[in-house]
């Protein structure tokens, strides 16, 4: 037990608000929780008196499961809510829905919402800590933290000079934006790669490199994060066909083996096997996709633990 500075924020809305020290504190705390979840008894009593509401206004399987497991392993009480079977359908506003839930004495809210900025809006209006579990195309901070944490496990604590390429649908991806902020704060170099239609026009203003040739991008990088094509967010056609996308921007074993160095392959899931990456790449020893999932629980435990520490019960 070492006394250290607290997180600089009261809510986790986006990586943009965090400092490098915050990110490192989260990683250090996650190291301990990773030990905990590999023990025979994977549970600690730290959050015995905290109640957490998971509000999912948008579909999610692994993020919700990961948050729920993290909360339960910290011994918090958990209530789950998904928009599909709720009063939202009956015309209730977001604030009303959440205030009703908070009236039942909830300390912390984990929310996923299809509108960018929903988490920030909520954090200003309600009296509870808010963790953003993805707001539209804006940010998905815990995913970026677990991605960077997984890179740290493979390549060491110092990110200076590490090269990471994010491949795929950058325009519609909250994972991409959070990843860019997180990796840059840690000192890594970031490149985005994808079809011109899926790369935002002004993305270079964030200080990232842009490349439209997958092979060149992969030759440059140490780590490739292959994003899913988010067909559900694309209201118009951005490329002629999935087959063409896969031929130009899909990573297969042949290309992976032909690179001059061994790179690490990541994917935030869910994978469309044969589209972004082929099955043999997803299952190869260079892929850390399942480690990312395991680290997701440890990172979420760390985030919730550190935010809960700011709820004072003197």
């Amino acid at each position: 037990m070492i006394k250290m500075d607290n997180l600089s924020v009261d809510h986790l809305i986006g990586i943009k608000d965090l400092t490098k020290q915050d990110i490192e504190l989260i990683f250090k705390t996650a190291d301990s929780f990773k030990q905990v979840i590999n023990r025979p008894i994977k549970k600690v009593p730290s959050l015995r008196d905290i109640t957490i509401a998971n509000l999912f206004f948008e579909n999610s399987t692994r993020t919700r499961l990961s948050f729920e497991l993290a909360e339960k392993r910290l011994s918090a009480d958990v209530v789950n809510f998904s928009a599909a079977n709720s009063s939202v359908k009956k015309g209730e506003t977001l604030i009303d829905t959440v205030n009703n839930i908070l009236a039942m004495k909830v300390d912390l809210v984990v929310m996923r919402h299809p509108n960018p900025g929903a988490a920030k809006f909520l954090s200003e209006k309600v009296n509870a800590r808010v963790v953003n579990a993805g707001d539209g195309t804006h940010e998905h901070p815990t995913q970026a933290l677990l991605d960077a944490y997984s890179i740290r496990e493979q390549h060491g604590e110092d990110f200076t000079g590490k090269k990471v390429v994010i491949v795929g649908d950058i325009s519609h991806s909250r994972v991409a934006l959070s990843n860019i902020f997180c990796l840059q704060k840690l000192g890594a170099e970031v490149m985005v790669c994808g079809p011109t239609t899926l790369i935002p026009k002004f993305i270079h203003e964030l200080g990232v490199k842009v490349e439209h040739n997958l092979r060149k991008a992969l030759e440059w990088c140490d780590v490739a994060n292959m994003l899913r094509i988010q067909l559900e967010r694309q209201e118009i056609k951005y490329f002629p066909s999935l087959r063409e996308y896969s031929m130009l921007f899909g990573l297969d074993k042949e290309m992976l083996d032909s690179l001059s160095k061994k790179i690490t392959v990541m994917h935030p899931g869910p994978i469309n096997r044969g589209v972004e990456i082929s099955s043999d790449v997803a299952d190869s020893d260079q892929s850390i996709i399942l480690q990312q999932v395991e680290n997701g629980v440890a990172i979420r435990m760390a985030v919730i633990y550190l935010l809960a520490a700011k709820i004072n019960r003197h």
């Binding site: 037990m1 006394k3 607290n6 997180l7 730290s46 550190l306 004072n312 019960r313």
Partner: protein, 189 residues
């Protein structure tokens, strides 16, 4: 944490006393555990591990065998989470053996309210069900307990006021083994 300049100091044990006390504790452990076949020693993070290290060195030299030792972090099991201004940041737990049916000796430097030991007992359960748990402390601050916890092996019992602080210094950190009693004379301004 402690500013030694603001405190009035009194030595409880000097380096010679620390050495003798550790040797006596080691002998007492040997009496009860003989060959240490089914015994594991576990030091509490962050300060109990130094007591453990020293006892380990003495015992391994005497017995000429390797002892099974571990380090236990209790941060997540503490009962004062969210009741202090600073968050508690954990240390490393390092127990790479099963404690099921083992005789466990929990080791810490100073026993005060007993709350750390309570947390330690909780934390220990995550590694299995020990046959028996004993407590060894270098310093026992008697009459200050908040919980019904007593050590089986005590280096030195001392009577203190709750306004006082017992600090254990180790050779590898400060150049000299020493146990001192400090008084925060400016405690109330």
């Amino acid at each position: 944490m402690l500013n030694p300049n603001q405190m009035d100091k009194r030595t409880i044990l000097n380096s010679k006393h620390v050495e003798l006390t550790l040797k006596r504790l080691a002998s007492q452990l040997k009496e009860n555990h003989q060959s240490f076949e089914n015994t594991v020693l576990i030091g509490l993070q962050p300060r109990g591990i130094h007591v453990l290290e020293r006892l380990k060195t003495i015992l391994e030299k005497d017995l000429s065998t390797k002892l099974i030792c571990g380090q236990l972090d209790i941060t997540f099991y503490r009962d004062d989470f969210r009741r202090r201004d600073q968050p508690l940041i954990p240390s490393v737990s390092n127990i790479d053996f099963i404690i099921e049916d083992k005789r466990v000796v929990l080791i810490d430097d100073v026993l005060y309210t007993g709350r750390s030991i309570r947390s330690g007992l909780d934390a220990l359960l995550a590694f299995g069900r020990p046959k028996e748990v004993e407590l060894l402390v270098l310093i026992d601050r008697q009459f200050e307990r908040h919980l019904p916890i007593e050590p089986k092996y005590t280096g030195k019992p001392v009577n203190t006021l709750s306004s006082q602080v017992v600090v254990v210094e180790w050779e590898q950190h400060t150049g000299e083994d020493k146990v001192i009693l400090c008084t925060e004379d400016d405690k109330n301004g």
